[in-house]
Symmetry: C2
DNA sequence: TTGTGAGGAGCGAAGACCACT
DNA sequence: TAGTGGTCTTCGCTCCTCACA
């Protein structure tokens, strides 16, 4: 067997070695850029390898080096904008560092699925795991992990020792959004939050609460959505009934869209009757019928940090936690304005929503 | 060495075998569910394996079986709704069949990146490739692929012999959208298409053209966006200037959103002055300030078909092409209505856009 | 003969160690 | 003594062959 060609299966190192007339080890050295090979020989080996279409066998290499360079990702709600774009950021970050991702997306957050997912990832030989699921639903421990490290930005995972938690201070971003509304003159700000088991939802809510507290304003009861536009709409119908609601901060843009719909349906105009601030700055936020004021954060940077931290753990670093100052920027568009009673004289137009935006749109 | 425990690295088959007092081969049989093992012995082996936290080494297995069960995916524009959700559908489909995905997302569509991506995937030992990029920018050939099969729903890839193309008739969906507008009484329908190198964009446009042709209506010049809300907005500004535009079919929902914004900015109301049909039925389409009429297709089903086709090729099937009847459904909401001149008597309200929707929203 | 099990040979590459210049 | 390059072994597992009830 193995008479050189071996059909469609592709050449292996020995084949290249024989063809060049050197040992397999020498080819190995060339392929891995190891020293102690004359430049001319190196070039010849490379040439022959390319000519034969040689491609190193990852399995063989992984077997002997005990390294797979695979990083597992457990994600959820991947049809959502946030989670989806984070996965792709992770993918890029991993590639840059010579790792690849093994993705598992969970249909729901049952604990059983979680464990199965982790188990599967471990079975694939991944050397570290990134969790992109609500940390409250993660039920794993050191025994299950078998020493594989974890990194995440969703908050600390209980019962896992080798982990690094990246905390991206979203509180400040939530505070920023709320403060903007207070600055405009609103007496207080309502909040449509995300699911409480999501770390990001809790932080944004905390930021909102902090801003109100600092300004000594009453804190209305929080309404909790599920990130979807529909939940924003349903909760928005409730808010629309209350005449004392003049400003709302929603935990993400899609909920804000639903809210805008609900308010419109109740004949409350935006921003004359109610001002709205979203979160995420999804690409279409700027192009809503009422362009949405929102907070833009640098999610990709966080993903990169998470991946760096994980790689550090894999390569022998110490577990720990880092608080990362997440860049955030308030993008003011047309969905926010002063409360009606303060500008009553100037804006009696029946159709504020359809007016030209305050901010020109950039191309 | 290898004195049973071997520290944190986990047990291997021999360890389990020794512990049970059988040969390593017997453990192998048990793990792989092979016959010729007494039930009691099987149970004991399983118990000990679990107790020791034994996990098969995928690299070793792959090395000897020459199978990796990895499927490569080359995706693009993954922050877009369509591509992102397709990737996750593929992931589920793959898992069901015992395969896993290796994802590569391209930052842009340079040919160089394409080749690098394929090369990387092949280097990882993937047994098949799914292309989720515009087929026009794919520059690969049998030599590069080295016999690895390809499956895709983006149209045939030149110079690749082992491929199966799943054609999901989106033409019909485009026709449906256009016909709806014609049925409402619009003289003709304008079209904001997607990038022409995307197969889906071409098909949707063709459907639009076919509907107009069948009805013997004039075909306005097509405007081409890039799937983004911003492009819909910019092109929409042009359409807004023309008083003869009463109906527009956009190739996706996000472009439709931009268009709605542009029309609103130009003080044209939706649907009184202009009716709009989108495509995709993204979750937030229903909750826009003017709920969007759109076409919903079963993308996930197509992804499953693509994956099935690829697995068939991997496991020895014949290349070919399948035309799949893609299920589609027109979701009529508030962004479409009869043209103004036909209902002039009844709807002189200055603010049609903000009125309650025609369709009640389901919970 | 039919289960049931053990023993040995690789899979493809990398590392330790040795042997030439 | 450096620099070069070759030999032999090993990684963990599956398949093939063969020995025993």
């Amino acid at each position: 067997m193995r008479t050189g060609g071996r059909g469609a299966k592709g050449a292996v190192m020995v084949d290249v070695a024989r063809r060049v007339g050197v040992s397999q080890k020498t080819v190995s050295r060339v392929i891995n850029g190891a020293p102690h090979v004359r430049p001319e020989l190196r070039a010849r080996v490379l040439a022959v390898a390319a000519e034969m279409g040689y491609r190193p066998n990852v399995a063989a290499r992984a077997l002997v080096t005990q390294r797979t360079h695979v990083i597992g990702v457990v994600a959820m709600g991947t049809s959502l904008f946030g989670p989806a774009s984070r996965v792709f950021s992770l993918e890029h970050a991993a590639r840059e560092r010579g790792y690849e991702l093994a993705l598992t997306s969970l249909p729901d957050m049952s604990l059983k699925h979680m464990r199965t997912a982790i188990h599967g990832l471990l079975g694939r030989g991944c050397e570290g795991i990134v969790l992109e699921v609500p940390n409250k639903v993660v039920d794993i421990d050191d025994a299950l992990l078998g020493g594989v490290p974890v990194a995440t930005s969703v908050g600390p995972i209980p019962h896992v020792s080798r982990q690094t938690v990246i905390t991206s201070d979203q509180t400040e971003a939530g505070r920023l959004a709320t403060q903007h509304l207070l600055d405009l003159g609103h007496e207080t700000v309502w909040h449509i939050g995300g699911p409480e088991h999501w770390h990001a939802a809790r932080e944004r809510r905390q930021g909102w609460a902090a801003a109100l507290e600092a300004a000594k304003r009453p804190q209305p009861e929080v309404l909790h959505g599920d990130w979807s536009a529909k939940s924003g709409y349903l909760l928005g119908l409730q808010l629309a009934k209350r005449r004392d609601v003049t400003a709302v901060f929603t935990a993400n843009d899609h909920q804000a869209m639903g809210l805008m719909r609900a308010l419109t349906e109740a004949n409350r105009s935006i921003p004359r009757d109610v001002s709205i601030v979203g979160f995420d700055d999804v690409p279409e936020a700027e192009f809503q019928i009422v362009p949405l004021t929102t907070v833009r954060t640098d999610d990709a940077a966080i993903s990169h940090r998470v991946l760096s931290a994980l790689v550090a753990l894999i390569e022998g670093g110490e577990p720990g936690s880092e608080v990362v100052e997440m860049s955030r920027e308030l993008i003011v568009r047309s969905s926010t304005g002063e409360p009606a009673h303060r500008t009553r004289a100037g804006s009696m137009s029946p159709n504020t929503a359809a007016r030209a935006p305050r901010e020109s749109i950039h191309h």
